[in-house]
């Protein structure tokens, strides 16, 4: 498909929000406009992405050799990789990324040429599509897709899962030390706990501007976590300044270590981080000291697996996707990564029975109902993103 045809298809796509060149030109200066646009699905406006290219044919043998994976650090169990190598006669080589935007830039300029990408989110998908960087999947290689929770077999950001297969799932909430904060006291405070000066110096928030500005919105009773309303965001800014003054928070992504180590008592964090926390408890400390309060109104999210358009081993990449969606393999992967696979059978009961998590963390496990009820962070327009960024820098500037 030519770029022009792609553009045409973009604007004819069903549902979703399309940020087109005309809108972008208005805010990007004279030379900032991209020749393409973004398709952003939302739960209310799911999108069917346009087909760019054809999926690989059915029934092909894998290519053998080395399959290159682009992955977050420590995001796949090395034993799972070794098992896959053995079972499918390939070698897996990993490249690590720590920033979606930087990874996409490297995919675009050809610095990275992986066969499979692990862990990108729907906010990146719009740009992967705009850059024509990924290829449609052939579902005949991925029978394990039926293991996914219902809400992610046909995700709003990629109806029909044409390009992506969900992998891990998580929601935002408050992780805390049950030996220092009474669970019922925390539940009665709800989001207000993050503004409670009693926890000053022992409290942390995740180093993620979208999540933390959303925290301020939720605490104020606002549930539109993609708002572009300047007044609402100004109020969120004041709210975060209050949080900062009251609690002197840490802003990092280390709560999965610091809570079990006892260096902090409470943290607004991703559920996946608290599921990982028991692995970091000092020897002899019961996992029951860890707790998680899951709010009624919160953010849920997932990441996914996808195959770059330039993959030279697409069959092996499909096989690896299918392998990772196997219930047993996913459970083994969870035992290392900590994050919860988005599979129906890897549920709270299974994780507790397997000893992967203590019962006190059962609220951190996301099921289909919780996923569906959660709010989603979607890509923002540049103007709105600048407003959010301004709230964040004011907060972090102290």
């Amino acid at each position: 498909m030519e770029r022009r045809d792609f553009l045409k298809t973009l604007f004819a796509t069903t549902g979703g929000i399309i940020i087109g060149p005309s809108i972008l030109a208005a805010c990007g200066g004279t030379t900032a406009t991209s020749s393409t646009g973004l398709i952003i699905g939302t739960p209310d406006l799911p999108v069917t992405l346009p087909l760019v290219g054809e999926p690989i044919a059915d029934g092909l043998a894998n290519e053998g050799g080395t399959i290159e994976i682009l992955n977050w650090a420590d995001y796949t169990n090395p034993e799972v990789i070794a098992d896959f190598e053995k079972a499918f006669g390939v070698t897996v080589k990993q490249s690590i990324y720590d920033n979606e935007d930087a990874a996409i830039a490297k995919l675009r300029n050809g610095t990275l040429k992986p066969d499979l990408i692990i862990g990108m989110t729907d906010t990146a998908l719009a740009r992967l599509m705009a850059g024509e960087l990924i290829q449609p999947l052939n579902h005949s290689y991925i029978p394990n897709k039926t293991n996914l929770i219902t809400g992610l077999q046909n995700p709003y950001y990629d109806q029909g899962a044409q390009y992506t297969m969900a992998q891990f799932i998580y929601g935002n909430g408050i992780g805390y030390r049950r030996d220092r904060i009474d669970p019922s006291e925390l539940a009665s405070q709800g989001y207000d706990a993050m503004w409670n000066s009693a926890y000053s110096g022992k409290l942390a928030v995740t180093d993620s501007y979208r999540d933390i500005v959303s925290l301020a919105l939720f605490q104020a009773g606002v549930t539109d976590v993609n708002t572009g309303d300047a007044d609402i965001l100004a109020a969120a800014k004041e709210n975060l300044i209050r949080l900062r003054s009251a609690t002197n928070p840490k802003v990092d992504v280390l709560s999965y270590q610091e809570l079990p180590a006892g260096n902090r008592d409470i943290a607004y964090t991703w559920s996946g981080d608290i599921l990982l926390a028991p692995f970091y408890l000092p020897e002899g400390t019961s996992a029951d000291v860890l707790g998680f309060w899951y709010p009624e109104e919160t953010i849920t999210a997932n990441d996914f697996l996808c195959i770059p358009k330039a993959s030279s081993k697409p069959v092996a990449a499909h096989q690896f996707i299918n392998y990772l969606l196997d219930n047993d393999v996913a459970a083994k992967n969870q035992s290392y990564v900590g994050y919860q696979p988005a599979l129906t059978n890897v549920n709270a009961e299974a994780l507790i029975n397997a000893g992967a998590i203590p019962e006190t963390l059962v609220d951190a496990v996301i099921d289909d109902a919780k996923y569906q009820a959660g709010k989603r962070l979607v890509s923002l327009t540049p103007e709105t993103d600048a407003l959010w960024s301004d709230v964040w820098t004011t907060f972090t500037a102290g």
Binding site: I19, L24, T30, N99, N248, L254, A386, W392
Partner: protein
Amino acid sequence: MNKAARLWAALAAPGAFWLLFFFAVPFYAVACVAFGSIDPVFRDAIPQWNPLNWSFSEFNAVFSSVTSGPLRGVFIRTIVYVLTAMIISFAIGFPVAYYLARHAGKRRMLLLLLIIAPFWVNYLMRMLAWVNLLSPSGLFSRFVGIFGVQYNWLDGSPITVILGLVYGYIPFLILPLYATLERLDWRLVEAARDLGATSRQAFRVVTVPMAKAGVAAAAILIALPMFGDYYTNDLLSRSPKTEMLGNQIDYYINNSSQPQRGAVLVIMLSTLLLVALSWYLRSTSRVGKERVR
């Protein structure tokens, strides 16, 4: 210019050109990003290579934030932290360099080696080691706890960040100071004493002025990396209360969709440091002239 001078100028030219090129080109590229735009789809910076088309909107926004917005506090805090760290570094480093230069005798090389040895270990690893030592259950915290000192060093404490900066950069202060002091003509100090100056007067009137160039060099050497430092704060604090300019640059460049703002901050910081560097060059050239006189 005589023949020898011309020869040395010719030999120095490639190196000088190399340094100039690799200063000027990256700096120009940063300016082109700062005054350029953003691809709204991919959020990449689009440098504007033609200065005639530079847009100053982001510069104005950052400048306004620095003068009257949230970045004002970050700027002031960074300057205060760096100046405090420099004062502490001199208070610790000058006596060490002085001792090494004047009194260490045969043990000089061994002591120098011992001072430098810990710094062969990667900066990140050394800071991570401090994170362990300073954590509430860490060795250092438990040790000072014996004396009744209960302090959460990692609780977003400015003291910890400043001491971290001192620890991280002090060898870069001691070495040039030592090199300067070691080359001083100590007979001038002895002459001052012979003429009735007390040791304190001799130090203030003779040693310090003669060491001025070394002091300025050491100050510049540690101030430059301290101003841009973000990982010390990241590892030892990570609290908004101690946010430094480097942390804001890191955020804008690596985690936001406004990399131009990071580039603008780089330019502002570079300008500030350029002023400091000019002062250093002026002061060293004045010392040189005084010596010639």
